[in-house]
Symmetry: C2
Subunit: 392 residues, 2 copies
């Protein structure tokens, strides 16, 4: 009747969004304080500096200049601020002329994949992976190839090597990782870069590395290495959703490394893909805001504290979980073979967890701990009761 | 190398955006007051009520609630406000559960076309037409079919009938029209509806009417009829870019008429298409704003005055042009056969006009008069000098 793929995507919804809708309905029903919603990454770390600056921008800028169309890749001042931050703080290559502002991380992904992939070409991701990767790769007419990870979710390069083919156009990595919290080390990434370099040479065409970095600033041990420093054919995808708690405002960017082969042509394709998918420009007011806060973050103490508290309390109870190195997720072992059945049982205790099948692996549940501290504290008796049910 | 279609779309750019970039560069070079930029519809009618309300929303709402993800189709309060406005002010059918907020008109178009079209299905538009229609139809894997208009750009229904086939899934209309300023009469639209009804019956499948209405409130004679009142299988695409001068903020909606055949399935497809194209939600702050201003407009007096002044002055000089009934465009006859050559010549006088070839017809130039009054006044000697060059 209508487009079948879209109809299915719409009727099924993402499991995460489905839980998000359920959580909102359930909170309205029994009270927000009684629902322990660990479902979606809706960040709540305070960024008090933003509201004042938004008001200042609204007061200082003539509305017709403020709210008008910007250039499609974004305001030059925003592109300069981003490239400047990458060079100064991350020590990486960047060129404002190769920076393209987007309506958030999902748009960054949809646009770069549409720009890069020709029909039937492949993009490799490591499992577990953010489920919308598949949606965006398939929207671009490409094929998602899933590579395994080793214990504790490290990239399995031997397995990856066996999956690379002349059709591989890109490898997409996400470190700090959603859903596992893994942060790839410089050694792991250098080995990945060497493999891609070797295979690119062998196939006579570059394999691009797409670095999805919405959690760049969220690390609890070593700082995540900046990938364009290690591999020249890298495109960075960023969003301020997590770092500035602006998830609903849809503001992020694509930075094509100036060291990429055919960087300008790739950037042209990014502009073309943005146009084709209906992105005229990123929201203008928030372009101005991030021009002033390109490298700043909200106060991330909350996530640090939630991580420490939840990890300690849950492992002490008896849950199994690798200590997260970054992002704001715990990826705990399911207490029964089916993660979906486990999460369904958790729901009875008003604990909203995302089953790992949606991330391409079985046996785990994802907790998003970017929540108020009270949710963490309130949830602990429920986690204990849930565990008790399995020990009966 | 990369996706060829995207590469071409990005390298070529839209003629309108190209002129917009040229205008900005030229203004920086010789001074903004010396460039008469009639290229893009970057609206500047004042909407003083907005800035105060934005500040109020920023002050009153806790930031984590304000800037967080909303439900994918939008905040319920915004969807209710929109459906309420459609019912009360436009007298048309609407259901908040079938309203989907978008990142502006381009997103509304890209999403509904991706939702509706299966590969190879056809969407008909009337020439001249907004050039991005082709981009969005082709992005959806569909085929754009161009129907002619009669004198003064009225829909040519006899010609349309000859172009409808069992592959026709949609007819896309835009009234008030970009670029001609035509507003279709109730009689014309009833005849169109009757034709689509007849052909839908003949083919055994509905032909949907897509009504692209970013200029809904911009009319200078009769009010544009609200299409879902005349044809049940109508989907309305709206944006506040023009009515509230918010073009850069990317906020609009899709309203699937509850009288549509398979309305819920179509709405599911809309949600799926939004997901697939990378639209997570419309910008949250502006969702809240439009909840409070669903049916309001900026002070549109400026456009009324610019229209009267430009139309009178240009036709008095000797330019030929139909009096625009709506939107904020004059579509003047080119003074030589090639509209591109004419617009290139106009550029020498710092007059930035869009040649009509980009709209699928030859022989005209589009002036966007949503500009400060000073631009209109300043441009008149330049228009006179341009005409003089042809009369030498």
């Amino acid at each position: 009747m209508f487009n079948k793929r879209m109809q299915t995507l719409g009727a099924e919804r993402s499991v995460i969004r489905e839980l998000f809708e359920y959580a909102n309905a359930r909170k309205a029903e029994i009270g927000a304080d009684k629902v322990f919603d660990f479902s979606i990454g809706n960040p709540c770390a305070p960024a008090p500096q933003l509201e004042g600056e938004l008001i200042r921008i609204l007061r200082e800028t003539p509305p017709s200049a403020l709210h008008g169309y910007t250039s499609a890749p974004g305001l030059w001042e925003a592109r300069q601020a981003i490239a400047g931050h990458i060079r100064a703080a991350l020590g990486g290559p960047a060129d404002p002329a190769l920076v393209y502002l987007t309506c958030g991380a999902a748009a960054s992904l949809a646009v770069i994949l549409a720009a890069l992939l020709q029909r039937g070409e492949e993009c490799v991701v490591f499992a577990p992976y953010f489920p919308e990767y598949r949606v965006f790769v398939e929207n671009a007419g490409g094929k998602l190839v899933v590579a395994p990870t080793t214990e504790r979710f490290r990239p399995d390069l031997a397995a990856l090597e066996g999956l690379l083919t002349p059709k591989t156009r890109a490898v997409l990595v996400n470190s700090p990782n959603n859903p596992t919290g893994a942060v790839y080390t410089e050694g792991e990434l250098r080995a990945l870069a060497a493999l891609l370099q070797k295979k690119s040479g062998q196939y006579g065409a570059p394999i691009y590395l797409l670095s999805d970095e919405p959690y760049r600033e969220l690390f609890y041990g070593q700082r995540p290495p900046y990938l364009p420093r290690l591999y020249k054919n890298t495109v960075v995808l960023y969003s301020w959703s997590k770092s500035l708690s602006l998830a609903g405002e849809r503001i992020g960017y694509i930075s094509v490394s100036p060291e990429c082969e055919n960087a300008q042509t790739l950037f042209d394709s990014v502009c073309g893909a943005g146009r084709s998918l209906g992105y005229v420009c990123a929201p203008a007011l928030f372009q101005r805001l991030v021009s002033r806060f390109a490298g700043e973050t909200a106060d991330l103490t909350l996530y640090r504290e939630n991580r420490a508290r939840l990890y300690a309390a849950l492992t002490q109870m008896g849950y199994e979980c690798a200590p997260p190195e970054g992002a704001f997720y715990l990826f705990i072992k399911s207490l029964e073979p089916s993660a979906s059945a486990f999460c369904a049982r958790a729901k009875k205790y008003e604990l909203l967890l995302v089953p790992s099948e949606s991330f391409g692996v079985g046996g785990y549940a994802r907790l998003s701990y970017c929540v108020p501290r009270a949710v963490v504290e309130g949830s602990l008796p429920a986690f204990s009761a849930l565990l008790g049910e399995y020990r009966k």
